[in-house]
Symmetry: C2
Subunit: 354 residues, 2 copies
């Protein structure tokens, strides 16, 4: 039993999963991507202006690895001081000496660090055109499978996080098109549910196909099939944690067709996502498969720093695999949410003094 982790879905299976990973080795993979869908006004706060949105994901990847960004001159942060969730991810990974590997699955801007390259293009704005070609979806799954085969064999648990601004909107579209009922979460305090659902419905009208690859090509983004590919081969060898909110529900839904070892898969997110009354992560996952959802009760609500405290009030909530990375650190070294908060505040102070 972990005091800072709630288990949803198949509880006993989830508890066994956690017990098996106690004190084990983790590898964090960070899939960065881009979809022009994020430029639709009102759907994301992951960037102050449309111009900086393509830099969000590579900047997160650089921050994770260097503690500063190279492609932009600042750490991703809202004007009023709410930092990127990559800050939580970095703190958690460093606390437990968990290595990370960056995978570029269609980022518009390449990060200035060595990363697994997939050769994928970024996704198009699904409001006006299909996200990508069917060939691109196939390519993403195939390259994901190769990456998962390599990475899955080197660790007791592969944690997969993602960063793609606007990604909850494409996730909503894929989930809706695949017949999963529910609404996705948001990085905004006021979840623009109706805008996302309207985009999902409008985008879905472009195709009658029930084929899962067609659905992702039409309304998804490059992150979804890439992570599905990684999941399929990695879960054949080791435990895999899909680290994220409702976007990972879209990955899991699509993965029904690409395949995975059900006993080796779980989702992990922050309690700010599972507590979100405007979205239904746990219910959506239960419609897809008998897979546990771990909710990490971070202690950001106790922070003296407003930008961190905001997470507990519904801003940002999750991202860059923050929940899964925190879970991994807790399992590997037994660190608590309060201890993670202390380290996070220390990192926060360091970056604002840069």
């Amino acid at each position: 039993m972990h005091k800072d982790i709630d288990v949803f879905g198949p509880k006993q299976k989830g508890q066994v999963f956690l017990d098996q990973l106690e004190k084990k080795q983790f590898l964090f993979s960070f899939v960065i991507s881009y979809t022009e869908t994020c430029t639709i006004p009102g759907i994301t706060v992951a960037g102050k202006t449309p111009e900086v949105l393509p830099y969000t994901s590579p900047a997160d990847a650089e921050f994770l690895n260097f503690g500063y960004c190279k492609c932009i001159n600042a750490i991703p942060m809202t004007p009023d001081g709410k930092p990127t969730p990559a800050l939580l991810t970095k703190t958690a990974l460093e606390s437990a000496s968990i290595p990370n590997i960056v995978i570029n699955a269609g980022s518009k801007i390449a990060p200035q660090l060595p990363c697994f390259e997939t050769g994928l293009s970024y996704g198009k704005n699904i409001l006006i055109e299909p996200a990508m070609s069917l060939d691109d979806v196939t390519h993403a799954v195939e390259y994901g499978r190769l990456i998962g085969r390599s990475l899955g064999s080197t660790t007791d648990c592969l944690v997969i996080g993602e960063s793609i601004p606007g990604g909850t909107t494409t996730a909503q579209t894929v989930l809706t098109s695949l017949g999963i009922n529910g609404t996705v979460s948001s990085s905004m305090q006021e979840n623009p549910v109706s805008i996302k659902q309207k985009i999902a419905i409008d985008a879905a009208k472009r195709t009658d196909s029930k084929n899962q690859f067609d659905i992702v090509a039409n309304g998804g983004d490059p992150m979804i099939p890439t992570v599905a590919g990684i999941l399929s081969t990695a879960s054949a060898q080791t435990k895999v944690i899909l680290a994220g909110g409702t976007q990972m529900a879209a990955v899991l839904a699509f993965s029904k067709i690409t395949g995975y070892n059900k006993d080796n898969v779980a989702l992990a997110t922050t309690s700010y996502v599972t507590d979100d009354l405007t979205s239904n992560l746990v219910e959506m996952v239960s419609q897809i498969d008998d897979v546990p959802v771990f909710s990490v009760k971070l202690a950001l609500g106790n922070s003296k720093i407003d930008g961190l405290k905001a997470y507990a009030n519904g801003f940002v909530k999750e991202g860059a695999g923050a929940g899964g990375a925190s879970l991994a650190a807790m399992l590997k070294i037994g660190i608590t949410s309060e201890q993670l908060l202390e380290l996070t505040e220390k990192q926060y102070r360091e970056i604002i003094s840069q």
Copy 2:
């Protein structure tokens, strides 16, 4: 004691190194690169014509991962049936379920698989101009360090192989410029020692600098500083085996400046390199540092297949980390050279029937 492995250099240290890796986990990283130096007539057999030389390394990477090549329509093989050493590497890695990760450090052609991308350009022909800029050397070391940090933390032993046609000539130039006496090995039965030494001397004349970075920029190739960077951070965390012949001596010589944990480093190659009377791997390494050299006594001389038997007669000898991969398989699962030969012959028959 391993009947198929000879230890040269500090023997006791080498034996302890081997003992510590018994039944352990290995990760094979495969650094592919290119230097226009390979177009100088008479220095390599790694490609039938100058036009196909840029495809050799990516084709090796594809073959390792798929069992066939994507960027070319055949398996790299000489017209008379001598196969790429990647055949030995693939057989060894598969026999022991050792994962591999490809790192693109300046290949002229990108392999059609996901790989760690460094953004490096290929090296220039050192006979007529400097191999690369000082900035490129620094970039290669920096990216190598980041890759080594990630990969080194996921395994008990990181094996680093390489594929770069013409690479022994750039290695000769770097070794000579760094004051190491000796001659490099060759993929040809008649080692064109005098051509290589003349190139080394002529290239060295372009600079008076004794700075190691200047020397690699002038007469090296992108593989050398990349592998040096990987070695520096990976050896701080885990054991590292530089898998290759005299090219890895050049890496080790340059690594004196970029740093490494001496207790965690060894070279591994085939006995076809250490038996080669025209080159001096062991002697050169002893001039550089107190680092063991493992020589794997493969059994290709016993093969009924002429193209494989040729290795024992001085053709090809080594490449694509074949010696180190074979060593890793022997240590991990106790496979012998005779058993590896049997598997290699099986693979050979499969590829020629494709």
